[in-house]
Symmetry: C2
Subunit: 419 residues, 2 copies
């Protein structure tokens, strides 16, 4: 079945925010087996919105709107929707009561306003989706072969309503549309062009599963998508392709789907009962921040010593003045001594260090902006890596920090498995 997602709101047309609602609904609906074939955005203008909804109902089976369900005069989606579907709006006492309870619970000093009562006006014959994350109810109105759904606009409410209301409703009403399953394989130390070269025949030749590639900050994502009747069948279709990718790319470490490299590092450290610390110059604390983004990281993360100036590299980490003088702070020697120093300072089993030139100034011909040395110090010795990252200051920092965590995982897998 074909779906059009219609988002409303002038902040979208003014370019103030990206359209996260369209992205979210598209991903979710595709996973359920629906084909999203149009996105449309329109502002708070009754004629334009009416035209958009009429066009959408002609060219799609299911039209889902987000936004314009709030209590203000500008919130007109439901009114226009009812007009286009040819039904009146009717007042629902129990919805008004529910809104009243929500308002009282969250703002004990306020009373229900006339505006808020408007939210209890519902297109006649519509299924009402009560809102567990806000006040505006959603609706679904089916007429003949067409379905018009209204969801609230704030992303948190919209997601809650999709997950708890619309998704079950679609499954109940239309049954299974088959299943589309995607697996995202994240590669941390190869360029997009290089990976594409290794996978070109697969990318071009496959129809189910399909393969696609995306450059992300600090890694490349390869998406495998399969369509089948059930989730299990879809997974079974994907598995041989995943193995083929593993074989062709044979990386020390990849992660899948939402798992970050820092989460994988955490899993390995917990398994090996090891602790980790960091020493950061050019990343400024971002390595520590990535590691502590993982819930439960206090079990293995001891801390990160940020040493942005050379005096602190000496004072706190014990990097030797001779090393700094002979090789400068941006060198593999300094990276190695920083990592060793962090391991000593924290008494950790493994330490990660970064030192480099995040830019925009400070680069030279020999040491350009983007040059970063990473050190990994552990029970089997200290290794360093040299990379030159593209992008602006924050991008260099992000790439360097992500890659540093990757190098730590690589070290653990390569250096401790033989033991």
């Amino acid at each position: 079945m074909f779906v059009e997602v219609v988002t409303t709101g002038s902040e979208l047309l003014l370019g103030e925010i990206v359209n996260e609602n369209s992205r979210y609904l598209s991903r979710e609906l595709n996973a359920l087996g629906y084909s999203v074939i149009y996105h449309t955005t329109v502002g708070d203008n009754p004629e334009r919105m009416e035209g958009v909804l009429r066009t959408a109902l002609q060219r799609a089976d299911i039209v889902i709107t987000t936004g314009g369900l709030g209590p203000t005069q500008g919130d007109m989606t439901k009114i226009i929707g009812a007009r286009v579907m040819g039904v009146p709006l009717v007042y629902h006492e129990e919805i008004a009561e529910a809104i009243g309870e929500w308002v009282t619970a969250h703002h004990p000093d306020r009373e229900l306003t006339e505006n808020q009562k408007r939210q209890a006006m519902i297109p006649e014959g519509a299924v009402v989706f009560s809102n567990g994350a806000g006040t505006a109810p959603g609706t679904a109105l089916k007429k003949g072969e067409k379905l018009l759904v209204h969801l609230p606009g704030p992303p948190l409410e919209m997601r809650w309503m999709y997950e708890h209301r619309l998704k079950p409703y679609l499954i109940r009403t239309f049954g299974s549309q088959g299943h589309i399953e995607s697996l995202y394989m994240k590669i941390y130390d190869m360029g997009e062009a290089f990976i594409e070269d290794k996978l070109m025949d697969l990318i071009k030749g496959q129809s189910n599963p399909t393969l696609a590639m995306y450059a992300r900050p600090g890694f490349v994502e390869v998406r495998i998508t399969a369509r089948a009747q059930t989730e299990e069948e879809a997974r079974a279709l994907m598995e041989p392709v995943r193995q083929e990718l593993q074989k062709r790319l044979h990386r020390a470490a990849v992660t899948y789907n939402q798992e970050t490299m820092a989460a994988l590092l955490g899993r390995i450290l917990k398994e090996k009962k090891m602790t980790v610390s960091a020493a950061e110059s050019c990343t400024g604390g971002l390595v520590g921040s990535l590691i502590t983004d993982v819930a439960g990281s206090s079990a293995y993360f001891l801390g990160s010593a940020g040493t942005y100036c050379n005096a602190m590299k000496e004072h706190i980490l014990g990097v030797s003045a001779d090393t700094l003088a002979a090789y400068t702070e941006v060198s593999s020697q300094t990276a190695a001594e920083m990592a060793d120093g962090s391991r000593r300072l924290y008494g950790s089993d493994l330490a990660i260090s970064t030192t480099g030139i995040a830019g925009p100034s400070g680069g030279s011909r020999e040491k350009p902006v983007g040059l970063v040395y990473t050190g990994i110090s552990g029970p089997r010795g200290t290794v360093t890596h040299k990379d030159i990252y593209p992008g602006d200051r924050t991008e260099v920092k992000r790439r360097a920090a992500t890659r540093a965590v990757y190098y730590a995982v690589q070290y653990l897998l390569e250096h401790t498995e033989q033991e």
Copy 2:
């Protein structure tokens, strides 16, 4: 003049990426005085794309497409565009040569393929936008009152083409559309509802400038937008509103537009010739990372001591064991001693500390998830702040780190101005 932005590409309809091109073009075109009234996204399907372009050309004066100009068979935007405008495609020898030069320069081992030659087919009568950031040329075809523009899809190429080709073309062709100017005022320590309450009459009553509010991670953004003939006139319209906001909200520190609180901190520190360091527990390094996102921060940032475990709070920062035993690590006493310890360790003029419970576990009735103490230690003594932040682990970290930088600015403004 009314504009519709038409984006193409199945990765948008699959929900794999957010629609950054629509956001970018909308913001830019609004600033030039054009009204963007629709966004539409459609996939690589000839019939649907034709329908979308016909509808767009009926309801808007200017239709701008992005994507589908590449060398593959799926890239069909130009073909459909020419069909809808009723003109043939013609081969441009000089464009083919330019593409050939680009390919040779970037891939010396490759020859121009038949597919790449397709990129040199241009709608008859169109102005050609040569592409300084890739191979696919853009086009602008004017016929009667309607203008159809094709830009490439990769965001970097699209932005380059807008800035260097389409923007000058629009100004040349249509002259000034007046000027729309926006100012974004960022408030770091007041909730959205509280700010709305203080500004409600302004938000409702104004037509030029207009006011709008958005909750962002760690701050609230108030947008002032004015329309006038020139940038100066627009700014003059905004200034009294800005002053009124300052008066009503009277914050110690706000930032405007792209400036972050860390950038403001940097400006003040440089002005006062002071240095800063940090000591981070629950933020894991994110305070240091935010500070070092600012170019030139090495002039005043000495480093951040991440101490995720209590032993390191004692060992590195000199927090007393008695304090930790009596008040635990999540307390204003510990935050104060961490900040003092960081100032001692780095020899900095000002130090920022954070300690709290990022979650999802570790909370209790007295000390819930999201509870964060921030300490600021400086020449006029040590102050602490207690906050409870909503959201998941990464959100608590982000809010706490952003607010910590804000507290440092507040300290500098309040505690050093009397000197």
